[in-house]
């Protein structure tokens, strides 16, 4: 038997690792996207903020008297030599009056200029400073340029990128570990399922799969596989049962046939011999009928290729059957009563449905004493059609009821009723084939067999009716 595969080979080839890899990849891309977006947004905000301070500073200076602007600039430069702002004031002829901003920045509106202001220091190696400038023409024609360095914004940008990369890596690693763990848990559950399947394959057919867990869909999968196994088990059990039953149940009539033939051979006269052979022939025909029933049962149970289902009018079908069985019931001193409804259409095979209800009616007539009443009732719910065949005979005790659909089952084995013992088995097989349901119950007194068909077509019509009812 093969070992549990895939999970025990290389850890990097395991399903869990691949699962984690895919998981991490998706997370990394998502993290990069989100952080990239944040970086972009924050950068724009910082830039806007910087532009705002430049405008404010320019406005503050312009609020001074014209002659006082130069003095004010000088005062500010002296008060904070490493302050946020740098200045340049040019007279109307373009001559610089005060300020440290290079003259290349002397223009109206937004601009940028690169400046090497500080001598390089070990802590802050020479790095050109990027200045953002805002030039404003004053009323007398002189030009005021206020500048600020983009250093903070650039620094924050750098921080943001480092932050982004670090977080992307962290999230990816977390996803890798998380994915691997999730995959490991998932695959371990699958491993348990696989192990259960291995056990079933090796012959322990009573085993069922454990629930996989994690998701209802996965449990549904396990449940469906279990149902499939139940079905296979049922069929296998049926197969085992039928071969045993056939052997047991045909031995008696075959023995009887043999005795009849022996008696016919030893019969004194030609006429007696002929009579004996006739009886034996009847017996042989009964045996053949049983074989035909077994074959038919096997065929119906097997499903396989089927003549397509059509719409079958149950009312009409049952009416014909009742006409067929009325004389039979009268001859057997039984009462056959029926309550049929007109609109009872089901989807099925008319020939098999006729056999189904014929079997149920015959069953009720054969297995009840004279004077019994056999009732056939058809009822209709919005999406269900039921046919109930009941009698007021002795009935079947509760714990035997389930068993009467089994092959060759006889309620009273000592009382050979002359039936093959397959009627209800065949009926049950036909019910199953039609996706219908057969319930065997107590008619108080008597036996009650109810066959219910869930009708899709009728269901739709029923739903329509309900809609109409709701609308008044």
């Amino acid at each position: 038997m093969a070992e549990a595969r895939s999970t025990s080979q290389s850890p990097f080839r395991s399903g869990a690792f691949r699962f984690a890899l895919v998981f991490a990849g998706v997370f990394a891309v998502a993290a990069l996207l989100i952080l990239g977006m944040v970086h972009h947004q924050v950068g724009r905000y910082a830039h806007d903020a910087m532009a705002g301070t430049l405008k404010t500073e320019t406005a503050t200076l312009m609020a001074e008297d014209r002659g006082a602007i130069a003095a004010e600039i000088a005062r500010r430069m002296q008060a904070a030599p490493d302050g946020t702002f740098l200045y340049l004031l040019l007279d109307p002829t373009g001559r610089p009056l005060v300020g440290t901003v290079p003259r290349t920045a002397a223009r109206v509106g937004w601009g940028q200029v690169i400046m090497r202001e500080h001598p390089p220091t070990p802590a802050d190696p020479e790095r050109p400073e990027r200045l953002v400038t805002l030039g404003t023409r004053l009323a007398d024609g002189s030009l005021l340029v206020v500048a600020t360095d983009g250093y903070d914004v650039d620094k924050m940008g750098g921080h943001m990128i480092r932050f982004t990369i670090l977080w992307a890596i962290a999230i990816t690693l977390t996803a890798l570990v998380g994915g691997w763990m999730a995959g490991w848990v998932f695959l371990r559950r699958l491993g348990a399922t696989n192990a259960a399947i291995e056990r079933i394959v090796s012959g322990r057919t009573e085993q069922r799969l454990p629930m996989i867990g994690l998701a209802p869909e996965l449990d549904d999968l396990a449940r469906n596989i279990n149902r499939m196994l139940d079905r296979i088990d049922g069929l296998m059990e049926g197969l085992r049962q039928v071969s045993t039953d056939v052997a047991h149940d045909l031995r008696t009539p075959l023995t009887r046939l043999r005795q009849m033939l022996e008696a016919a051979r030893e019969a004194p006269g030609r006429e007696d011999t002929d009579a004996g052979i006739d009886v034996a022939l009847v017996q042989a025909d009964k045996l053949l009928a049983t074989f035909r029933a077994i074959l038919r049962l096997a065929q119906i149970e097997g499903g396989g290729r089927r003549t397509p289902f059509t719409s079958v009018d149950l009312g009409g079908l049952l009416k014909t059957l009742i006409e067929t069985y009325e004389p039979v019931a009268i001859d057997a001193d039984h009462d056959l009563v029926a309550v049929l409804v007109a609109d009872a259409t089901v989807h099925g095979d008319a020939e098999l449905l006729a056999q189904l209800f014929a079997n149920l009616i015959e069953n009720a007539i054969i297995h009840t004493p004279p004077g019994t009443r056999v009732s056939i009732d058809v009822t209709r719910a919005p999406d269900e059609v039921s046919v109930i065949v009941s009698d007021n005979g002795p009935g079947v005790i509760a714990n035997e009821r389930e068993r009467i659909v089994r092959r060759f089952y006889q309620v009273d084995p000592s009382r050979g009723s002359g039936s093959s013992g397959l009627g209800l088995s065949i009926a049950n097989a036909i019910v199953t084939l039609h996706g219908a349901h057969m319930a065997i119950g107590d008619a108080g007194p008597g036996l009650r067999v109810a066959v219910s068909f869930q009708e899709r077509g009728v269901g739709a019509a029923g739903a329509l009716d309900r809609c109409r009812d709701a609308l008044g």
Partner: protein, 223 residues
């Protein structure tokens, strides 16, 4: 009447030939589908009996080939399987009747007789007569010796079928299949119950019984 029989099992073939010969038929038998096609296209047969399962070209294929060639000779298909699908498939291939193995000699003979008789007028005629009994298939009335007889729907159907085959034996299976459309063995005396009622209505009180029971085979109506 000449019949063609395709059956690969020698014992079954010999048995069927003996039974059909005893019933007054001339039988030409073969064991392969190719022979059956050759014989059927050469000779003039009243009925062709084909075993469905023979090695090589099987009975169903033989039948399809013959029908495709325009040979409309009535065909009886023999099969070991009593499958609904098998029967439908056989009838679709052009079989006129279908018989499940094993079968009683009387059953085979009755089926062949029913097929060999070219459909006479009484099959489709509105009015059919057997002896002093007349049925009207449109008015659904039955009159015997001038006396009107009331029949239930299924009794009328049964009588009609017997009259369509008047003078011939009809078996229980033929009645079940053709009158009741039952393709299974009922566990109760469906036929006997209906037959006794039909007989009580059309034969009781008359000098001659029209419906005869043929022991070990079935029933026959005779004028």
């Amino acid at each position: 009447m000449k019949l063609l029989l395709l059956e690969d099992d020698e014992a079954t073939r010999a048995q069927a030939v003996r039974q059909l010969t005893a019933a007054g038929h001339v039988v030409e038998a073969c064991g392969t589908g190719a022979d059956a096609i050759f014989l059927a296209t050469q000779g003039d047969y009243r009925v062709i009996i084909l075993d469905r399962m023979v090695p090589g070209i099987d009975g169903l294929s033989v039948l399809k080939a013959l029908r495709a060639a325009g040979i409309r000779t009535p065909a009886l298909l023999l099969t070991a399987m009593d499958g609904i699908d098998d029967r439908v498939e056989g009838l679709e291939a052009g079989a006129d009747d279908y018989l499940v193995k094993p079968f009683a000699a009387a059953e085979l003979v009755a089926r062949v007789n029913a097929l060999s008789r070219r459909p006479p007028m009484s099959d489709t005629a509105v009015v059919a007569t057997v002896g002093d009994l007349t049925i009207d298939r449109v008015k659904r009335t039955v009159v015997r010796a001038g006396q009107r007889i009331e029949l239930q729907a299924q009794e009328f159907k049964l009588l009609d079928y017997l009259i369509q085959h008047s003078g011939e034996v009809v078996t229980r299976t033929m009645l079940l299949e053709n009158v009741w459309s039952f393709h299974f063995d009922p566990q109760t005396n469906v036929i006997e119950s209906h037959m006794s009622r039909l007989r009580a209505k059309i034969d009781r009180g008359f000098a001659k019984d029209l419906i005869q029971t043929v022991r070990g085979a079935g029933y026959r109506i005779d004028g």
